[in-house]
Symmetry: C2
Subunit: 227 residues, 2 copies
């Protein structure tokens, strides 16, 4: 049986959208939130949205212990505090998929601009803060949260950064469960410095073109890079 | 009759590829180089590649005076010196389309990493250095130079940054002359901070997937944003 998928910050727009799509794919979801009652409410909402969804809502630390690949979908301003709180919960061997983006909106600036992060990117900050043996992969920055939570088919790429292909492959296999998303190997974790700001670019394009834009890498060979 | 299109650094891979495609579209090209004899050689080569091509090769400063929209396609390590040399050549009202990318390769580092530019991006450095009344637009960072110089059909987007839509539209109209390229309004010039590093990302993807990758923005409405 497939392992449950914890989504830390799963009550937020991106995390909830991810929960919707992975539940539709038949996977067991554990929605994490700072407050367990909010996580339970989101789990209830997910059961109403996706009939037959196998989902529970737990406090973040408990949620994080439920599966080997943990998604972190909190806003950037909460990333550091959340990781501090997860220090005892995350364990050697887990993968932490960081989806946070250092938008300037975190400090009441524009969502079309980013902040400079000392470590180079939010993902690298996550790697610095994660317990020993926990490997950070970054992904899903360019997928629109409303599009993910909606019913429309998706048709875009997910740029996946991480230092080992084998780890990225495990995350890619989860992304491939979602119809219309293609995971692309976007290089080492430091590449997240380039990928994270794409969210800010797309937010600008969304406002200019009145859409939920995404990214596609053109020219890739048809065969599966991950197999 | 359509104005000639000066391409500063048109002997380099990206500039020459651009010259090939715009010459094929029937436009008059002025290839600029630091050394006029190299520009003339490239013009000769272009005439052999594109039959009937209307092209001449001139020293950069002379070339820059030949048309209202000037492409700057020199490597980043030559950008600053080139702009200093063009101070007397560029004139009020011209558009300068900066295509340079601050790859770390400029200082013998990796082409999959970028340098921090004081002004925020190569395009903003160009704007600071350009004479008064010359407006910088940035574009073409994500189009593979070998793909551009080749015969294969293109099928990708060009992210265009600049502070006024009317200026970006003039550049977009030139990009649209090239089959398979779609110009996308990527916001103000400062957005070049996000777009320029995509070259480094794509260079990594090219090496990993053995291809000439490009970028496509998904979810854009079908109607022409520029009209």
């Amino acid at each position: 049986m497939a392992e449950p998928i914890p989504i830390i910050g799963g009550t937020g727009a991106l995390g909830y959208g991810l929960a919707v799509r992975l539940a539709r794919a038949g996977r067991t979801i554990v929605i994490g939130s700072r407050k367990p009652e909010r996580a339970q409410e989101a789990a209830e909402r997910l059961r109403e949205t996706v009939s037959g969804a196998d989902v529970e809502g737990l406090e973040n630390g408990e949620a994080a212990q439920r599966g080997p690949v943990v998604f972190l979908t909190v806003p950037f301003r909460a990333q550091s505090e959340t990781l501090t709180n997860l220090k005892e919960a995350l364990a050697d061997g887990q993968l932490l998929v960081d989806c946070t983006v250092p938008l300037a909106a975190a400090i009441s600036g524009k969502a079309t601009r980013t902040l400079g992060v000392w470590q180079g990117s939010a993902a690298q900050q996550a790697q610095e803060m994660a317990p020993d043996g926990v490997t950070v992969i970054s992904a899903l920055h360019t997928v629109s949260a409303p599009a993910l939570a909606g019913d429309e088919p998706l048709d875009e790429d997910v740029l996946v950064c991480g230092d080992r292909k084998a780890d990225k492959k495990r995350v890619a296999e989860l992304i491939e469960l979602i119809d219309g998303l293609r995971p692309v190997n976007a290089g080492p974790l430091e590449g997240s410095r380039i990928v994270e700001p794409l969210t800010a670019l797309l937010i600008g394009i969304n406002s200019r073109y009145k859409t939920h834009a995404g990214i596609r890498i053109t020219g890739l060979p048809g065969d599966d890079h991950w197999s």
